[in-house]
Amino acid sequence: MGSFLLRRLWTGIPVLLGVSVLVFGMLHFLPGDPVMMMLTQPGGQARPMLASEVSDDLYKRMQQQLGLDRPLHEQFLNFLGRAVRGDLGSSFRSDLPVAQTIARNLPFTLELAAAALSVSIAAGVLFGTLAALRHRTWADTALMAVAVSGVSMPSFWLGLMLLLVFALELRWFPVVATQGWRALVLPAAALGFRAAAIIARLVRSSLIETLHQDYVRTARAKGLPGTGVVLRHALRNSLIPVATVVGLQFGNLLGGAVIVESVFGRPGIGQLAVQAILEKDFPVVQGVVLLTAVTYVIVNLLIDISYGWLDPRVRYR
């Protein structure tokens, strides 16, 4: 197990390195000069600098302060060197440490993603199991129809509908609050609904297949109660493909959080990343992408570990 973990972590390093190179390259080769954007940003309520007033000296000084005067490879190595030590640099825009900015936003996204994942696993497994047990009945058809609509429904639209019904009409939940469990319910439902639908469909098909296995028939023939057969034998064995999908869904939830955070006005790294990309705030974009990549690697590792718990036949080598 230990060597398996080490090996998996080791293989994560090239992934992170590759992601860093890609993001660094993309940001630097896209049009837009962050120094000029900072110095001459139009839209101020008073007069910003005109380019003729941006002296070479000031431009170079600003470039130097931001570290943008160095060769690209040096900038990249500096970024990597600092990132390894946990220092992601300072935001070009606010001058605040990126790690601090991310740390302030991350809990909200994790909270939202975790809540959405919990909702989606609970609802997905429950409704998938019900549909499998009521295979080819109206209940199965109805549940799968809801699942199909869940897969095809954009979270943006669903979020607004939930707000209209449960916040405006019924007044059960707030529209723009960010504190307390009531503020989390609608965003988590909006974000988790699609994942719940995917999990439900997968649980259903996997469970239907498992229920036809010999060992399930044997268990039933031995006179074991139906619920026990389903929960202890069939369902557990059906969950391995589901676990893989849950891992992938967690990544999707982190990505989808951008939309839901926007609809509900919640803080989070999705919103932070979008704003940073628009303003060419390199350090923040790099920090957020690196963090997201690390999260993917860790979640996938946890999923791999969970296989062994779900199916004792799986051995870590």
Binding site: L30, P31, G32, M36, M37, M38, L39, T40, Q41, P42, G43, G44, Q45, A46, R47, P48, M49, L50, A51, S52, E53, V54, L58, M62, Q65, S90, R93, S94, D95, L96, P97, T101, R104, N105, P154, F156, W157, L160, M161, L163, L164, A167, L168, E169, R171, P174, V175, V176, T178, Q179, S262, V263, F264, G265, R266, P267, G268, Q271, L272, L278
Partner: protein, 543 residues
């Protein structure tokens, strides 16, 4: 527009349409208007703003939208209530040197910062030096050109020197970028000062509840409010909770459920309904700068020809743009400067009404004949094809596509190229377009017109002469306007500039940008300054 973008817009449109229909159905019926009465102290409001802000250091940050909030936290040395009329702020009086290189301010002796530290001459000197210190990375450096130094004459008298005459100094002091910040606060809070600024304004930053929720609390020591706001003392409101929500429908829902008492930019399509409902009030403030327009490239392509530029102007209906894209929450633009600007020239009304037939005649006379098969005009076998380069997203994409359809009716084939803001700016710098997009939110016509039309300001960095206009006459007028200190003379100069721009059809003016706010009728006396920014100094909530 790509298929993917179309789908996203369509989905968003459907969602918004359904959302709005339900909101409309659930809206409370119109009631009676706000009852008159004396201000009632106390109470708290939630202000849901349309952007996310994280830097309220007014001496560093440049954003007209963040300024809405900064105005509650800081006070300027002088306030501007007319183009050439300044009234005391933190400075009780001031003297301007004959050559406009020295400005001497007598400061108030009773003002203090939110941290209890006294406001004095040292604080003013500290502010200017901090802005110019490269370590500060201030984007306000441009507001102190040719700075020569600040002399502390006595604890409450300060003299600011420039090495060259500086006409716009008082205006920039009033503009929101040069309000004094507490030196002790700056030193104590370090980088956190951006989120927790310490000014002298009617409200202070109490806390950030999370990254999207900031709380402002009443400054109990405040007694230096400007006379024109008619309330010098601590504000009536106890607290302003700021929430940053980018989705307009969500902001509207928060207003409808009573969760918020002040909303920036509710959805355009809902403004009329809110206006008709006496339970709500809507304030539309026209921005005073350069109107939202399409600059036309003088240096390449068919837009080098005056008839083509004139035809583009005659063929577009600004009224339809205002109706279909903005639901009449903006004014159709008539000339380069906004009608709110003090140098606005009424003569712009004589130019370019919507007249597609005239557009066609002008093009015919210029040799651009309609090809009956393609319905596109041609000259010497070359079709009249233009590239419109603009940023994707609302409203630029919608306006561009609507204009494209109207130009097409006149036989002009405009290819709309939507891209990121940065990519569009690069194209403007390269000059690889015939029609661009521009609009600026500054107050003084010099800031707007010099940077956009002087021949030394060809696009790049902070230069916005996107049309690559090179004209000695125009340059001379812009230079004269920059040097003159006489407002009446400057007004005449800038009116001549506007005439030149329209005579040469240098741009296609489209609409005037507006700031839109909505609130329940129970929120009283929110005032707006000369720049259309909200001021909560004397606002109060009726119970």
């Amino acid at each position: 527009m790509s298929k993917r973008q179309s789908t996203r817009f369509a989905l968003r449109g459907w969602a918004a349409a359904i959302a709005i229909a339900v909101v409309a159905a659930a809206a409370p019926p119109s009631g009676s208007g706000p009852a008159a009465g004396a201000p009632q102290p106390g109470g708290r409001i939630v202000w849901v703003d349309s952007r996310t802000h994280d830097n309220f250091d007014a001496n560093v940050n440049v954003s007209r939208y963040t300024a809405w909030i900064q105005n509650q936290i800081y006070d300027p040395l002088v306030w501007q209530i007319d183009p050439d009329r300044f009234v005391p702020g933190l400075a009780e009086s001031w003297q301007v040197g004959a050559d406009r290189t020295t400005y001497t301010f007598k400061l108030r002796k009773d003002a203090t910062f939110h941290d209890g530290m006294p406001f004095n001459a040292q604080a003013v000197k500290f502010m200017f030096e901090r802005i110019l210190d490269p370590e500060t990375k201030s984007r306000r450096v441009g507001e102190l050109p040719n700075y020569g130094g600040t002399d502390v004459v006595d604890p409450y008298t300060v003299r600011v020197r420039f090495t060259k005459p500086y006409n716009q100094f008082l205006e920039n002091l009033a503009g929101g970028g040069l309000p004094p910040a507490s030196p002790a606060g700056v030193r104590a809070r370090g980088k956190d000062f951006a989120r927790l600024p310490v000014g002298t304004g009617p409200f202070f930053v109490k806390e950030w509840r999370d990254e999207k929720t900031m709380v402002l609390e009443r400054n109990p020591r405040y007694k230096w409010g400007p006379a024109f706001l008619k309330h010098a003392n601590p504000p009536y409101l106890e607290e302003i909770v700021l929430r940053f929500v980018t989705e307009p429908t969500t902001r509207l829902l928060a207003l409808e459920t009573g969760e918020t008492q002040f909303v920036s930019y509710p959805p355009e399509e809902e403004i009329e309904r809110l206006r008709r409902n006496a339970n709500y009030q809507v304030s539309v403030q026209v921005e005073s700068g350069l109107v939202q327009n399409f600059p036309l490239n003088f240096a390449s392509g068919p837009t080098r020809e005056l008839p083509v530029r004139q035809a583009l102007n005659f063929a577009i209906s600004r009224k339809r743009v205002a109706q279909l894209v903005f639901f009449n929450t903006v004014n159709p633009a008539r000339g380069p400067l906004s009608s709110r600007n003090w140098a606005f020239w009424r003569g712009v009304d004589n130019y370019f009404p919507h007249d597609p037939l005239r557009a066609g005649r002008i093009l015919d006379e210029a040799g651009w004949k309609l090809n009956p098969t393609t319905k596109i005009r041609e000259k010497a076998g070359q079709p009249l094809r233009l590239r419109l380069v603009t940023a994707a997203g609302f409203p630029d994409a919608k306006v561009a596509e609507l204009a494209q359809a109207m130009w097409r009716e006149a036989g002009i084939d405009v290819r709309v190229e939507l891209m990121s803001d940065a990519a569009a700016r690069k194209r403007y710098e390269e000059g690889t377009f015939e029609i661009g997009r521009l609009g600026l939110g500054f107050f003084d016509p010099d800031s707007v017109l010099y940077g956009s039309y002087h021949s030394t300001m060809i696009e790049g960095g902070g230069r916005w002469n996107r049309g690559r206009i090179v004209s000695r006459d125009l340059d001379a007028m812009l230079e004269a306007g920059r040097i003159s200190t006489n407002t009446a003379e400057r007004r005449q100069i800038y009116q001549r500039v506007q005439k030149w721009l329209l005579d040469n059809a240098a741009i296609v003016p489209v609409w005037e940008h507006t700031y839109v706010f909505a609130s329940p009728a129970t929120l009283r006396n929110v005032q707006y300054n000369l720049r259309g920014q909200p001021m909560f100094h004397a606002a109060w909530m009726a119970k």
